[in-house]
Symmetry: C2
Subunit: 188 residues, 2 copies
DNA sequence: GTCTATATGATGATAGAC
DNA sequence: GTCTATCATCATATAGAC
């Protein structure tokens, strides 16, 4: 990896670990083993480098999500796979965590890659549900768009609950509850 | 309001607006119109003042949530009220946002009040669902605990989606999807 | 109980040599 | 393309006068 690549990889790591405001250019340079001048040669500044890191995150997440949403026999299995716990639950969602930072939310350049990814994920969940509807697994009158938003929200919210508890248990519970609702409904 | 109360109110406001790491004692003092020496007289430091602010937040949230979970005729109406949009959706959840901050998540004194509130909320949702089960509104075999976790996760996640989009729409959609799942289920 | 002065280190960024 | 030196500003906190 060259300097620029190492800078992006380090920024990505630190964004996940410490958030945007909590990540200093210094720390990125140190982790990447790259000098200050070098960083400001390759990137305009902290925000510019962070955007590059966000784009890399997005590409990695797309791969992961595609794998999960295409695993499993039934539609519910696919959604369950999407909600499967991974090794990083307590670190939070790489993208979702970032957008809680006011500096990120109020800067369109930093926010755009996150919003784009969320839209992409929702569309993929929606098309998984559509397939299920064609198969006859999903009710014909289901509001696919709303359901996709709910499913993504459960994952994002489950990360938050797990972080507050410093335990993976609330994540699992929230996922279980969603699967139950998808399969059985709740009302008599 | 005396100095200490103004400090707590200001810290609360700034925690919501800028998060913990993003809030400096300076800024709090300025908003509260209180000098530096005064702040360090009343509180041990930034974290100590933040904990006081978190406790105040918790008390306010309990009132709001009690109101919502007791409004509405049916159990689903009550859950829908819990998921009703409020005027502050784009600012995020006061508690959920905080715990995304690494400094908060890794400091037990700062994290505890948040976790306590989440547990309290889940218990209140659970007992609302229990009532519905007694009424015959909710399936007897429903996994109440998991459903409560899911419902709270939807609210938390919906905040995240709204912030990423800088729009209240995803929040509404996620809530709609949840209500649909509660009432009809999704699978044929 | 509140004030000002000060300490110590980090922040994000620039300047200019090599 | 990378380096070191430097900048102005902010962070959190303490010291000691009033």
């Amino acid at each position: 990896m060259d300097s620029a690549e190492r800078l992006i990889a380090s920024m990505q790591e630190l964004l996940w670990e410490r958030g945007y405001s909590g990540t200093s250019p210094r720390a990125v340079q140190k982790m990447a083993d790259v000098g200050q001048g070098s960083m400001y040669h390759h990137f305009q500044g902290k925000a510019d480098l962070a955007v590059a890191a966000e784009h890399l995150m997005g590409r990695e997440l797309q791969t992961q999500i595609n794998e999960r949403l295409s695993s499993g026999a039934t539609t519910v299995d696919k959604i369950a796979a999407f909600l499967t716990i991974d090794e990083h639950v307590l670190r939070g969602c790489r993208l979702g965590r970032l957008v809680q930072d006011t500096e990120v939310a109020s800067n369109d350049e930093l926010r755009a890659p996150i919003q784009t990814m969320f839209v992409w994920i929702q569309q993929n969940i929606a098309s998984t549900l559509e397939d299920g509807r064609s198969n006859g697994e999903i009710r014909p009158d289901a509001n696919i768009e709303a359901l996709a938003a709910t499913i993504l929200a459960v994952r994002q919210g489950a990360y938050v609950l797990a972080r507050a508890a410093q335990s993976e248990e609330p994540f699992r519970k929230a996922a279980d509850g969603l699967i139950e609702m998808l399969t059985h409904g709740v009302c008599v």
